[in-house]
Symmetry: C2
Subunit: 319 residues, 2 copies
């Protein structure tokens, strides 16, 4: 076993930080490191926290960290930020609120942005989860901004997803769009003292009602909180605990983890087989030629692509 893997398993914070930069940038040795850590994974519980900007996710995460620390649990937080470098500044402020935990050894907070990882931001986050898990953190909280496809993929890495909504964020119905309702296990209406909180609750119940009828067989809890005033947080903690226990008892947690791993393996296979293909073709300048033929000669694109793939499978062997 490498020294880095040993130090991670011992919970050394500098080694953990270094390993995460490692996987984020897809450096040499990343795969070997994950292979070393993987057999030590599976003990941490992963909570995903998502919702629209301004819903108070960071304040809520802050409260959840406090509660978990009171119970003597260690906590790693991954704040995933797919935004661009030049608008990143605004998010940094949100993160700072969590910095009071920075002096606590039982809390490790890490921001991640998209880098060179083959599997994109979701792939890098999956690796970071394994590092924290192997390092022995009891809980890992993954927070994302917004509700795009990348965020939905990242939430798919969690054992349980907390969807944080807020009343009065423009048209409430808007907040329920974009496929985000389906990924929530527990629904939180934060800033519950604001006008419209009860109305939002009714809307969520309505949408979930439709969801039940269509597909779900399990009740999704709806909680009302005010993270900033520390209200409703204990009820939320209870609700999360019960939900996870139910998932364990029913086998749903194990199923979800297996499904997630299966998806991840397929994604890695897909990326790797294409990389092999791409290296091979690029070497021959074939992709450029293909593009030129399609762009300038107005050739039939699919006919050319299909011929190229047939050729690839044959040539790959003779190489």
């Amino acid at each position: 076993m490498t020294e880095l893997a040993q130090k991670i398993l011992a919970g050394n914070t500098r080694s953990i930080a270094r390993a995460i930069s490692h996987v984020e940038n897809d450096r040499e040795g990343r795969e070997a490191l994950i292979d070393e850590l993987y057999p030590h994974c599976g003990k941490a519980i992963v909570w995903g926290i998502t919702g629209p900007p301004g819903a108070g996710k960071s304040s809520l995460v802050d409260r959840l960290i406090e509660r978990l620390r009171t119970r003597g649990k260690s906590v790693a937080v991954i704040a995933v930020d797919p935004s661009s470098p030049f608008t990143g500044g605004a998010l940094l402020g949100d993160r700072l609120r969590m910095q009071k935990h920075a002096v606590d050894d039982g809390v490790f907070i890490r921001s991640m942005a998209s880098r060179g990882h083959l599997g994109g931001l979701a792939g890098a986050t999956a690796d970071a989860l394994r590092i924290f898990d192997a390092a022995g953190f009891d809980y890992i909280l993954v927070e994302t901004i917004g509700v795009g496809q990348t965020e939905i993929e990242i939430m798919g890495l969690s054992d349980i997803v907390l969807l944080v909504l807020v009343p009065g964020a423009g048209d409430e119905i808007q907040a329920l769009k974009a496929g985000v309702m389906e990924i929530g296990d527990i629904f939180i209406i934060n800033k519950r003292d604001l006008d419209g909180a009860d109305k939002l609750r009714v809307q969520v119940e309505y949408v979930l009602g439709i969801k039940f009828a269509e597909q779900s067989d399990q009740m999704n809890p709806i909680l009302m909180t005010s993270a900033i005033n520390d209200e409703g947080v204990d009820d939320l903690m209870d609700s999360i605990g019960e939900y996870v226990e139910r998932m364990k008892a029913s086998g749903k947690l194990a199923n979800r983890r297996e499904q997630r791993l299966q998806d991840e393996i397929k994604t890695i296979l897909s990326a790797k087989i294409f990389a092999a293909f791409h290296d091979f073709m690029q070497m021959n300048g074939e992709i450029d030629t293909l593009v030129q033929e399609i762009v300038h000669d107005k050739q039939k694109p699919y006919a050319l692509i299909n011929a190229k793939i047939d050729g690839f499978i044959k040539e790959m062997h003779t190489k």
Copy 2:
């Protein structure tokens, strides 16, 4: 040439509608159809319109259609909605505002949602663009909701991207997050009569100022409109026209189209090579075995995956 392709080239609306359902569901014959149409593509100008929910995009699209029709141009509109089936209802209302054009033969409005297309929603949209282009529409307007990765990909299919912002949508800075500013060519502050419109303009100028300094060599226009009161729309039309002319003159339009096609070809190659790989392995139950080994025996995941890929390349030939 198939009858369907002939009818599309002749501009038959029923055939166009049928072809789009065809590509959306990735039916048999999709590739052959696109191959037939592709040599007839490249004449339409594609405008992408995006921005946060509630910015008034549909009203603005409505005005732009009016202006283009006044100039005798035919217009196709693709409203892309990545939201889930059960929340889709809310969006339908937005769409209805454009329905007054439904009786106009020179306007074709089509909603698209994710279906079975190999390349996802962006792939289906790319195919739909080719169908409208081959059918002879002068302009194609692609409207998306929200600012996720899928929407950014879809905006990448456009010749020019109009980013529609609105004052007072919560914290204005929030609207500028998530990498969306980079994809805009022309910035529109709609609902310009609302408080905060001037402040938002200053913020946009500030962010664009940073963008200029870092990467851009071309001025991005900022326009103030009130689509609902039909104000600022003529200035916007002029601005779009001038911007596209500059892009043509500088070669930027041709470059963007070539880059887009190159990206698309790579995506198709990637999906196809993986599909071939997947079919082959699934046939042998190998992916399931791999997942079982990794999940239950806690084997090193990357070592197993890499061995499997090496094996694939060899076995593929002997098949």
